[in-house]
Amino acid sequence: MADVSPITPPAFTEAPKRQRSRLPLPIAFALGWLGLMLAVAVLADLVSPYAYTALDLRNRLSPPIGLGGTWLHPLGTDELGRDVLSRLISSIRTSLLIAFGATLIGAVVGTSLGLLAAQFRGLVEQAVMALVDFSASLPFLILALAVLAFFGNSLVLFICLLGLHAWERYARIARGLAISANAQGYAAAVRQLGASAWRVQGRHVLPNIASTLIVSMTLAFPEIILLESGLSFLGLGVQPPATSLGSMVGYGREYLTRAPWILLSPAAIIVTTTFAVSLLGDWLRDRLDPTLS
């Protein structure tokens, strides 16, 4: 033992690091799945075997492969002979587009209001917090239903509406974190140097609180997918001829006994995707959130 060199060879310090940076299996799966979904959404027109509205009247309600179907329609067809796989691909695109758009809107709106409240305090803060309380007092599904009842439905309105989901969470987090960040030396220092409120919040405070906000985004994303599919399932979300994962399930419900494949494939995609994002969110939270030990 005595003649072992006190300086640890570099190989010994590097080995555990490399091990730690290897992705756990579930996370690799989650990333792979989300990558696949993204690729499908982006390349929808290229990979889709048929147009999602195309009819094939001679092959109505034909079962998927494995249940007596053919490669002509690998996941079967619905009662108008529309190819389930093509509709699924189009639905993935719609649902992901809505979920991404809505998550971004929620994060931007919520974070901006939270930072505003932290910067100006006083009346602005009171107003923002009153809005937060109001949002928290109603389950979002009910609020969304009310707005849809009053305004009718369009895709843009629908995305904006879902964007309001969880904004209050970002606002609350951003406000709390920004208030404590403002009290720290670096914010005071740039302020002393004459930086504007805009610059202090945007360039200095925001990057320092971003990791927590990103974690909340990964937590809000699956919730939005579930909300969108729930509303579309009820027939109150994405309207035909456009199709989303939820509306496919809602539509397939009527053929539950005769053609369960119409709803099973979109249902499986919904579950797997929300599961993958939740896994990723939990993992990111453990890695990024300094408040958790």
């Binding site: 009310a146 006994t257 030990s293």
Partner: protein, 310 residues
């Protein structure tokens, strides 16, 4: 305590007032209700008569005051579709919704909380992993998918239970399970993390170090402290019982408030939507109020100290 109570009550009243205002603003922003109800090709005289009958021809602020006054008097307007009082329509449906949501709540509490506590006490054990895996599965499967899968298995394939309707208690089983499972998963996850946080506190270590038996540490120190965040989420669940029923009632064609809401939204029957909006906000505010009072009972520190700082 009295001051705390009045403060809470004032805030509850303010929230309800905001919901009423929200309903009014959204209602008026959304276009002319007369035109919507009567249809685009209705004769102008009929539309005028409709406006006069519903008070839609007065200035906006008068409409707002009248609206607020009417709601204070318990008059929530009539269903624009079948002319009956919206409040009666909604009230008729409440028992059916409660018949599902209360048993579902019992399931959530009696499975979710013990599972969460056990998982936390045996952290990283097989039991913990199992509970967490089930919990993640429970809340990533949306209720309409779970409901339809249950129908597919138990109604279509096995033929044990009916798939929808409200003829007997057997019709309630699948919807209750559908509602209960998701909530139990959320509650288990939440209870587990609340418990873990408490178990990591220094007073637990102190109690153990003093030689207090582990059982007494758990019952006397850990559980009461973990109860506080858990009560919050249970309060939220009670407050959102109706919202949770919307999708499940639709899946199982159960004639409750949730189903009524979906139909009213599809028909743009605004009086009924408003009435349900207020009912939901009311339950939410009331259950938040009860939760706040329970905090005071559970945690003596909060009775004296500031409530806002969390």
């Amino acid at each position: 305590m009295l001051r705390f109570l009045t403060g809470r009550l004032l805030r509850a009243a303010l929230t309800i007032a905001m919901v009423v205002t929200f309903a009014f603003i959204v209602l008026r922003l959304s276009g002319d209700p007369a035109q919507i109800i009567m249809g685009a090709d209705a004769p102008p005289e009929a539309v005028e008569a409709f406006r006069a009958a519903w008070g839609l021809d007065a200035p906006l602020w008068q409409q707002y005051l009248r609206y607020f006054g009417a709601i204070l008097n318990g008059d929530l307007g009539r269903s624009m579709r079948d002319g009956r009082d919206a409040i009666t329509l909604v009230a008729e449906r409440i028992p059916a919704t409660l018949a599902l949501t209360i048993p579902a709540l019992v399931i959530k509490l009696s499975i979710g909380i013990p599972a969460g506590i056990l998982a936390a006490l045996h952290r990283n054990s097989l039991l913990d992993r199992l509970v967490m895996a089930l919990a993640v599965a429970g809340f990533t499967v949306p209720s309409f998918v779970l409901g339809l899968l249950l129908v597919l298995v138990f109604a279509v394939q096995l033929g044990w239970l009916p798939s929808g309707g409200q003829e007997s208690w057997r019709h309630a089983i699948l919807p209750i399970i559908t509602m209960g499972v998701g909530g139990a998963a959320v509650l288990a996850r939440f209870t587990r993390s609340a418990m873990l946080e408490v178990l990591g506190q220094s007073y637990i270590r102190t109690a153990s170090a003093k030689g207090v038996p582990w059982r007494d540490v758990v019952w006397g120190h850990a559980l009461p402290n973990a109860a506080i965040p858990t009560v919050t989420i249970v309060g939220f669940m009670v407050g959102s019982l109706i919202a949770g029923a919307v999708v499940v009632e639709s899946v199982f064609s159960w004639p409750g408030v949730g189903r009524l809401l979906v139909v009213a939204v599809a028909n743009r029957d605004l009086a009924v939507v408003q009435c349900i909006l207020l009912l939901v906000a009311g339950t939410m505010v009331a259950s938040n109020l009860v939760v706040d009072l329970l905090y005071g009972v559970l945690d003596p520190r909060l009775r004296a100290g500031k409530m806002g700082a969390q």
